[in-house]
Amino acid sequence: MTFLNKSRFHHPQLAPNALGLTRRDYEGAISTLCAGCGHDSISAAIIQACFELDLPPHRIAKLSGIGCSSKTPTYFLGAAHGFNSVHGRMPSVLTGANLANRDLVYLGVSGDGDSASIGLGQFAHSIRRGVNMTYIVENNGVYGLTKGQFSATSDKGSKAKKGTINTDEPIDMVAMALQLGATFVGRSFSGDKAQLVPLIKAALRHPGAAFIDCISPCVAFNNHEGSTKSFDFVRAHNEAVNRLDVILGRDHIEAEYEPGTAIEVTQHDGTVLRLRKLAEEHDPTDRVSAMNHLQERKAAGEIVTGLIFVDPEPEELHDHLGTIAGPLNALGDADLCPGAAALEKVNAALR
């Protein structure tokens, strides 16, 4: 399920998208992660989402921190520039990149250690600044790369492979993202591609800070009995709040649902997010409702997944800064340098 097939013979399934690109054009190098690692499934979902959205791969910038999860950008979108930065600091690097050129699509990939432990501050501040990005945390509750220590998202009472019980409270990054003002918040499971792919698509189309917490079991260190991030545990406790269909502006919208059972949210670029409701009391466009639902279901021992909150008209960092509409990195000497005459005036004022 997680192995990325790289054989080069043409398969009838390789139908091109609107750009004339096949799914293969969105792939990257062969994964070196453990066979069965949840992270590989997320890479496959990213590939699928970008392909289905007809995104030109080279117009995506993929950034990450350090960890098994943060290695994955090598394994998708080979035609895109990637940046594997330092542990826990992807958000600042992504923010800077976004400042330089607002015209690219920014995809940040991180781990739970990377974002909830060492990088909690950068996670929080990039969200509250409203950086236009899709920020995916591949959450396995452990440090995979350093061989299985508990991370800050490990549930209290969860058991390590060697038997230790985690006694610290977990950080719920979804709850934090909601509190910090993320304008798109989702949670999913690497084992649920049908849920994950549309969620990533909607996030990539969201013109603001989009955060996805994706539970992604570590088969090497955290997939055993007693772990709350194992495939079996997550399958058993995962409660989806909705089923999402992403309908691009060009697509024909058909009403195929019972009135009242679904809501449609039109994002800024015309993309329609159709949410078939599974949880009665949850309104995904109401932050308070989303927070309440999350806490209630958490208290009941459930892991809430789906599109938990979306603001269809978000503001982003560039709106706050008042920067020009185009990329700053495209400005030339005439736009940037005030010139000798202006400098003479500066001199005169300093005498």
Partner: protein, 612 residues
């Protein structure tokens, strides 16, 4: 005996912070400049804010000496909290100017100074009803009184007031009146002038009076920086604020949108992270910080070095280690900058001497960063950064264009030009890069802090790693040729002695060299302007039997760098170190060098005299 001097004395103002004294003191200082007389001014503001003391020191120097002199000839004591130490600081024969409204016991004065009392508070209370006005105009009144006492041309401050309030004309007359009130009172009640006088001359020329932080910020605007990410820390804060001010003025479109972006980050890690992200993505980006920030940025600086990403870091140095003396000056981040981060790393460091050079290097740093694809440190210090200096005016050549370095374009990729991100195509150690989003199928690569081959493919193979590390050394060698060269000045006669200095030490050094020459101690002098050292630096050391290296830190950091990088016998370089947090003075350098030089083969003073 009361001191007498014309255009050569030090006035120090002791004020309470927030009392509006800063603009009055500025008015005093600039009035002297308008009389064509060079000055050097310094703010002294302790980090401990009890009693809110601040001091402002003006050295009047017809001879043009811009370093701190040391000692105070006239103290303007406006802060009762610091009275005793202020009075104690006055040179024997000096003058004390104070507000005589409330009587001060005789015991708190000194016998060997001249005391000048002006009832400033009483005058203000009589003239103004509004307490805020009383406060503000009190400052202008003392400037007026001082103008009479020092024989200042009254037209100089009057004209400055008219210029300053051009946009708020209502304020001109009241300020002029306050100035006149002080002046008239002094003329009528005191014997004016004192032994210290100002006499109009023509020694300022077209020089400007500004601080290094603003100048570096202006350099960043001229150098094309579009992204600034920073976290507040004294003494660097006014650099980021200066960038904001100049960028708003010069880079705002008619519709209000901005051709720049400034983010106040959550810490220095995020600041440098944003700078690196922006640099990677083709924008010119910088941060401004001080020592503690440099320490925090360590890991990221190594990434930028190894992954070869342009970045500019302005470090306005203060006294360390740790929080040290955060409002005092030092040159103590030299090693921290030059060798920042873990593993084998070396960085380009620029060392401006004054605001004029802060502007030049502030702009050049961005060309260097792009050409060399690496972090560039610009080391200011509190003395240059936060004080106004008299310096050469800024110049710009309109024909100049940004040098973006080796960036491969979509067209070049399309033509089939070979792209290897870490491939040294022409021997200078600098590879081509591409910006994200350049071409649909060609030129993309993965940037990482892990080892990779010439085509940016991850590898842990030893040979590929060594190949890359060697190329980085080649690149550093290239840097040596393009960073600012050292500036040498020769002694009036051949000498086996040399002196090396850098940064804010320059002004004091120049003055000390003149004095030492008069003492018969001749030194060739070399001002180092950058690391890596140009061959001229090591050559200078080899050409002299003994070289003094004057710097403002405890551990002789630049000396360590010279010894280490040039493989020089340490005994040949004598450290002259000043690190108490105050700016170095010519008196200090002169004494330190004279002391040590007399032990070597200088012509003895008596023989000098005989030869004349």
């Amino acid at each position: 005996m009361a001191l007498t001097a014309t255009n050569d004395f030090v006035v120090k103002f002791a004020n309470v912070n927030g009392s509006g004294s800063a603009s009055a003191n500025q008015l005093f200082a600039k009035s002297i400049l308008r009389m064509g007389i060079p000055i050097a001014s310094r703010n002294i503001f302790p980090s401990n804010i009890q009693g809110l003391p601040t001091w402002f020191e003006v050295r009047v120097s017809g001879a043009g000496h811009l370093g701190r002199r040391g000692g105070v000839d006239l103290m303007v004591a406006m802060n009762p909290q610091t009275w005793d130490r202020d009075v104690a600081e006055i040179e024997p024969g000096g003058y004390l100017f104070y507000d005589s409204t409330r009587p001060i016991p005789q015991s708190r004065f000194r016998q060997d100074i001249t005391v000048i009392g002006v009832p400033l508070t009483a005058m203000c209370n009589e003239a103004y009803d509004d307490p805020r006005q009383r406060q503000l105009f009190k400052n202008i009144i003392y400037v007026g009184a001082l103008s009479a006492l020092l024989d200042m041309d009254p037209e100089a401050p009057a004209q400055l007031i008219r210029e300053q309030f051009r946009a708020k004309e209502k304020l001109i007359q009241p300020n002029l009146d306050a100035l006149k009130m002080g002046r008239d009172w002094a003329m009528a009640n005191l014997s004016c002038p004192l032994g210290l006088t100002l006499a109009r001359m023509d020694a300022v020329g077209d020089r400007i009076f500004t601080d290094g932080n603003s100048a570096a910020a202006l350099g960043a605007v001229y150098g094309g920086a579009t992204v600034c990410a920073w976290y507040p820390i004294t003494p660097s804060t006014s650099l980021a604020e200066g960038y904001e001010r100049y960028a708003r003025k010069f880079r705002t479109n008619p519709d209000g949108t901005k051709r720049y972006a400034i983010v106040q980050a959550e810490d220095e890690l995020a600041s440098i992270g944003m700078v690196i992200g922006a640099g990677w993505n083709g924008a010119r980006a910088f941060t401004a910080t001080s020592g503690p920030g440099i320490s925090l940025m360590g890991e990221f600086v190594g990434l930028a070095y190894f992954a070869e990403i342009p970045a500019v870091i302005f470090d306005v140095q203060r006294a360390g280690p740790s929080t040290g003396m955060p409002t005092r000056t030092q040159q103590s981040d030299v090693l921290a900058a030059a060798y920042a981060s873990h593993g084998d790393t070396k960085h380009v460091v620029l060392l401006p001497e004054d605001p004029h050079e802060c502007f030049i290097m502030g702009a050049d740093a961005f060309d260097l960063a792009d050409r060399l694809q690496t972090p560039i440190f610009v080391l200011l210090d509190l003395d240059i950064g936060m004080n106004d200096w008299l310096c050469e005016p800024f110049h710009w050549d309109d024909a100049r264009r940004m040098d973006r370095g080796k960036v491969m374009t979509a067209e070049e990729l399309e033509e089939g030009k070979t792209f290897g991100r870490y491939l040294d195509v022409d021997g200078d150690g600098i590879p081509f890069r591409t910006w994200p989003g350049t071409h649909p199928t060609k030129g993309s690569f993965f940037t990482r802090g892990t080892s990779r081959d010439r085509y940016a493919r991850y590898t842990e193979e030893g040979a590929a790693y060594v190949d890359n590390m060697q190329r980085l050394l080649r690149k550093f060698d290239t840097a040596k040729q393009i960073v600012p060269r050292p500036v040498e000045t020769h002694a009036k006669q051949p000498t086996p002695l040399g002196v090396i200095f850098y940064g804010s030490t320059s002004a004091a050094m120049r003055e000390a060299l003149e004095a030492l020459e008069a003492d018969g101690i001749h030194l060739d002098a070399l001002r180092v302007r950058a690391f890596p050292f140009h061959d001229d630096v090591l050559d200078f050391v080899r050409r002299h039997e003994r070289v003094f290296l004057v710097e403002q830190n405890r551990d002789a950091q630049l000396r360590t760098l010279v010894v280490n990088e040039g493989e020089i016998d340490p005994s040949r370089i004598v450290p002259v170190l000043h690190y108490d947090g105050t700016p170095i003075t010519a008196r200090f350098i002169r004494a330190a060098i004279a002391d040590r030089a007399s032990a070597t083969n200088v012509i003895p003073l008596s023989r000098m005299g005989a030869a004349e």
